[in-house]
């Protein structure tokens, strides 16, 4: 009851947005509507504008969060849903949904230590996990100083900053910490929101960023694009192959390329802790969900055309907004998948 109440709420919101759009331009009866992840909202809007200029088709995307996007597509009120967290193939099977990645993102640790520049601090996954577990509480703890012999770290308490709202960013962060720390896996686990053993919570990337900027000695995590655009002090992290890497478009793409996307059906692959020398360890992808046998086949076909254009020609748009394009091989796999799965 509560869920249906909630989703009907969102349904109305989506319908409302949709009808106003129809009213604005009733010529395009086949507008493409989507809802979900707020992380992809900037790039989807840009793609939508460029695509509209080129073809006259409109894409109306509602940035209501991944959970909302999944609820919307399950209620079939939108043509596609977008989620930072992939659904399991069994779950997709049950509702008849197809799933594919559209853009690469990822999570970056950011710190506030006066005098320390971006990329100066080096972390390993287990050390980050122990800080977030509340086991390492000072910046001059031997576990951190031994990784950073060149940096003078203060005798200061570490203030952990996490997300207070449920988020795909948190899911990928917690998923990575679960992969590198058995204690995190048993005590906290992974999910869009978890029971944090320590720290304070900020709402959204901007909330976390505001807290990290305000509190000296804090350590938080934000999306890559957010860290780059706001020039935050990010850190290096040691990847699975033992190399310390900076977060950048290149290392994110390397992480995405080294993942084996064919191993699981429906691209069910969480690409954190990817192998490869240059791979950023906390890489993630945003998934689009669509019906395999949609009620409105024409509109669904239009949506696929839009995504085909976005994956093939929209990559410059993506780079200009600090999103990471999908590797070419993956784009091929996705197009084969479309041909096979979506009618």
């Amino acid at each position: 009851m509560s869920v249906s109440l909630f989703s009907s709420f969102k349904k109305q919101a989506a319908v409302l947005g949709f009808t106003t759009l129809l009213a604005a331009d009733s010529v395009h009866a086949a507008d493409i509507s989507g809802a979900g992840s707020s992380f992809v909202y900037p790039i989807l809007s840009k793609w939508s504008a460029s695509y509209n200029a080129k073809t006259g088709e409109r894409v109306n995307y509602q940035s209501i969060g991944s959970g909302g996007g999944i609820a919307q597509i399950k209620a079939a009120t939108v043509t596609f849903g977008a989620s930072d967290m992939p659904l399991r193939p069994e779950e997709l099977e049950k509702v008849g949904l197809a799933q594919f990645p559209v853009v690469i993102g990822g999570v970056v640790p950011v710190v506030n230590l006066p005098g320390v520049k971006a990329g100066e601090i080096r972390f390993t996954g287990p050390v980050i996990a122990n800080i977030f577990l509340g086991k390492i509480t000072k910046w001059n703890d031997p576990a951190i100083t031994s990784l950073n012999p060149k940096v003078r770290l203060p005798d200061q308490k570490i203030t952990v900053v996490h997300r207070s709202d449920g988020s795909g960013t948190t899911f990928n962060w917690a998923n990575y910490l679960s992969k590198v720390s058995p204690e995190w896996k048993t005590k906290v686990g992974e999910g869009t929101s978890v029971q944090w053993p320590a720290g304070i919570g900020g709402k959204g990337n901007e909330g976390v960023a505001a807290y990290v900027n305000q509190i000296k000695g804090s350590l938080g995590y934000v999306e890559l694009a957010y860290a780059l655009q706001n020039k935050m002090t990010f850190t290096k992290v040691k990847n699975k192959s033992g190399h310390f890497v900076d977060p950048s478009l290149e290392t994110f793409q390397a992480g995405a390329a080294s993942a084996d996307w064919t191993e699981q059906p429906d691209f069910y692959e969480i690409i954190t802790d990817a192998p490869g020398k240059a791979s950023w360890p906390i890489t993630a992808s945003v998934f689009v969900l669509m019906y395999k046998q949609p009620k409105d086949a024409a509109r669904s076909a239009e949506a696929l055309k839009f995504f085909k254009w976005a994956l093939e020609e929209g990559q410059n748009d993506a780079q200009s907004l600090d999103y990471v394009a999908l590797p070419a091989k993956l784009v091929e796999q996705i197009e084969t998948y479309w041909a096979k799965e979506i009618k």
Binding site: I64, K157, S164, G189, T192, I200, G201
Partner: protein, 331 residues
Amino acid sequence: MFKSYPALAMDRSDQASSRDRHDKRADMLFHLVVKGCALLVLIALLGAAFSMLWGGREAFATFGWKFLWSSDWDAVQRKFGALVPIYGTLVTALIAMIIAVPVSFGIALFLTEIAPVWLRTPVAAAIELLAGIPSIIYGMWGLFVFVPFMAEHVDPWLDENLGALPITGPLFQGAPIGLGMLTAGIVLGIMVIPFVASIMREVFLTVPSEIKESSYAIGSTTWEVVWDVVLPYTRSAVIGGIFLGLGRALGETMAVTFVLGNAHLLSASLLEPGNSIAATIANEFTEADSPLYLSSLIALGFLLFAVTFIVLAVARLMLMRLAKRAGENRQ
């Protein structure tokens, strides 16, 4: 014409009775409309309470009474408890009222008794304007201006000077991050002041000047007039204004979300981050991904309802007892 006189009289009485009937009908309609207005509030109130209870039934059924005193809030294990948000809500509202009530009293006192007449209207208007500022503005001011001030000046001082005291010490220990219960309470206090102050000012103005003047005439000071004459005369309205402020402090969402720290951790210290019911719902509702999670959030909403109701009921009870005692004293 003459002949028609009795007929005219008849006509008049007929007219009168039809007018009576018309009046009666209009009266009844009026009663119904007014009653409907009052009932509407009651229905809305009960409807809101019931629908939240219904939405939260899964959480209540799963956790039972434990939901009230469990400090768990784990979306992964699907274990939820309301203790941390309830505690945070009550503590921040308490701090807010400790600040807001005396300050508002001072403002109202100044504006009605002490301030020069030309100053009263502009200051009163300014206070009412303050009440109209959206809470998100208070939140942003709190985060970007007040939190750094607390972190640099207030928190370290409290930790150093009060943190070592034997009984109240634990209230003031913690890392000076600026966010936390104390900051949230102070910001809430500032938000509540305009409401309480403008009501107090208005009811102070209703005190007949004869009463005040007689008191002045027998040699009372301004303080004595206000404390012994104005306040007893307006007591129930003043307390009503305080309730209104308290209600707002208990349910405030946006400003608290910015400065409270949003951490589901139970801590005695006022300098540590916490969580409130309204902030938890605002933070987590959009991404609550399991039915039980969503149900727990709606159940929290019901508890906020219940907490507000209990706090107001207790306050009213205290008021009744106070009135009784005052009556006894007079005899």
